[in-house]
């Protein structure tokens, strides 16, 4: 196994920073910035006084940014509520926005680039119109993209507010209908819990939150935020893991939702990369249920050990680029059968060759 990057060591044990040389601080800040964890690092180091001034100023900067983002989330959620309240349907906040609004320990310093929500599939059109009425706009006018999203994806094209510029991703499921895994998102929607003082605005139950985060990271995402999402999982597991019966519920729910494989990866790599404490009975049970065949596991270790490191040159080895590329292909392959996938990837390759950017391409939610 590769040596842990400095950032991971500090995430595991913040006291590791005492006695770092300026040169090491320089490296730590760069790794954290590239992993989108600079503000999280600022939060974890809040207790440490007299950090070297140049490092402190980068930490303060990222922290200020994260604080403002959290406020933007609160304001956006209020606006989403305003736009959707007439529909009276449950609106489930996903990932970052959920952590912020629920005030979970995963929230402080968590950077996010958009707000993801999950709504009942049969009301998608009503939701889209309501958002249009309150100033959001469809981002992809390319007919191919529109068709791709609406036919194959579990979300409509991202909508961007015309004045504030905030982006919202509206999902009707946590995975595309064509995906290998078939979790029943309506089951998760059914048990969603309303936020205090908010009728329609909900979050998943703790176990569903974790299973969704794991699924997104290991079966959907393209891992550009790999380590950050792993840190989310770490924070959620540490927080809820102390509650009575939590691990039993988590495993049972994973079976119900057909998500034992992503759960296995989640427990394996949080423990491996950021030393998340997991009771051994849970490790054994999940291994029995979700452990892939040895050869596949060896490959996954090879890929994730690299892709879950900070996306910074100081953390790469000669195979990192290959690993990220293979996982990128995998994320698409897990999303749809090859005969659908190939034409799409070829088109994407062609488009990005023309200098098009992720915003102009149908990819799974960036957040």
């Amino acid at each position: 196994m590769m040596a842990r990057p400095l950032l991971s060591e500090v995430l595991i044990n913040p006291d590791r920073v005492t006695g770092l040389s300026l040169q090491q601080w320089d490296l730590l800040i760069r790794q954290a910035r590239h992993a989108d964890l600079l503000a999280r690092l600022a939060y974890l180091l809040a207790g440490h006084n007299d950090l070297p001034e140049p490092a402190q100023s980068h930490l303060d900067s990222a922290w200020a940014f994260a604080q403002r983002q959290a406020q933007s989330v609160r304001y956006e959620v209020a606006n989403i509520k305003k736009a959707l309240s007439d529909l009276d349907i449950p609106v489930v906040l996903l990932k970052g926005a959920a952590y912020v609004m629920a005030g979970l320990p995963a929230a402080p310093g968590r950077l996010l680039s958009d707000i993801d929500i999950l709504v009942p599939k049969q009301r998608m059109e009503a939701v889209e119109n309501a958002l249009l009425l309150y100033g959001w706009r469809t981002t992809h006018h390319d007919e191919y993209d529109q068709k791709y999203y609406r036919q194959w994806m579990h979300e409509i094209p991202p909508m961007k507010h015309g004045v504030r510029g905030a982006v919202i991703d509206v999902h009707h499921a946590i995975l595309p209908p064509t995906a290998r895994l078939k979790p029943d998102s309506s089951k998760m929607l059914a048990t969603a819990v309303a936020l205090a003082g908010q009728m329609e605005i909900c979050t998943f139950t703790p176990v569903d939150m974790i299973l969704h985060s794991a699924t997104h990271l290991f079966h959907e995402g393209e891992l550009e935020h790999g380590l950050r999402d792993l840190v989310d999982l770490d924070a959620l597991l540490r927080h809820f893991g102390t509650q009575n019966g939590f691990w039993e519920q988590l495993i049972e729910r994973a079976v119900t939702l057909d998500l034992t494989r992503p759960l296995y990866y989640a427990l394996r790599y949080t423990a491996q990369m950021v030393a998340t404490p997991i009771p051994s009975f849970a490790v054994k049970a999940v291994a029995r249920l979700g452990r892939p065949p040895a050869a596949l596991l060896w490959l996954m270790d090879f890929l994730f050990e690299r892709a879950l490191r900070p996306d910074h040159v100081s953390c790469d080895d000669r195979y990192t680029a290959l690993a990220r590329w293979m996982l990128y292909i995998r994320s698409h392959y897990l999303r749809m059968p090859f005969h659908l996938l190939f034409p799409h990837l070829i088109r994407k390759a062609f488009k990005s060759h023309k200098g098009s950017t992720s915003l102009a391409e149908p990819t799974v939610a960036k957040e």
Binding site: R68, Q71, S72, R74, Y75, A78
Partner: protein
Amino acid sequence: MSPSGWCLASGFDPLYKGWDGETLLYDQFSGDTHVVDDLCMAIIELLAKGCLSEEQILKKIVQYIDVDPGIDFDPVVQQRLAALVKLNILQCPT
């Protein structure tokens, strides 16, 4: 629990500083920044104490502001109310 009369928009959380009849105002909830005149500020400070009907506003506003007698005050206040609603500073009577 829907508010009756004119109210500050829900969540509206202002910081402000004024000079010579103009106030620079920042809404910590929306992040919007405004420059408003004294009459707007008087209305905002008045409604900060609670929701009021238009009649009440017109009656109480003079405690906040010296009005030269002999000018038709009401339309000017109504104009401000409508404008402040558009800026998400106030919300309409429901």
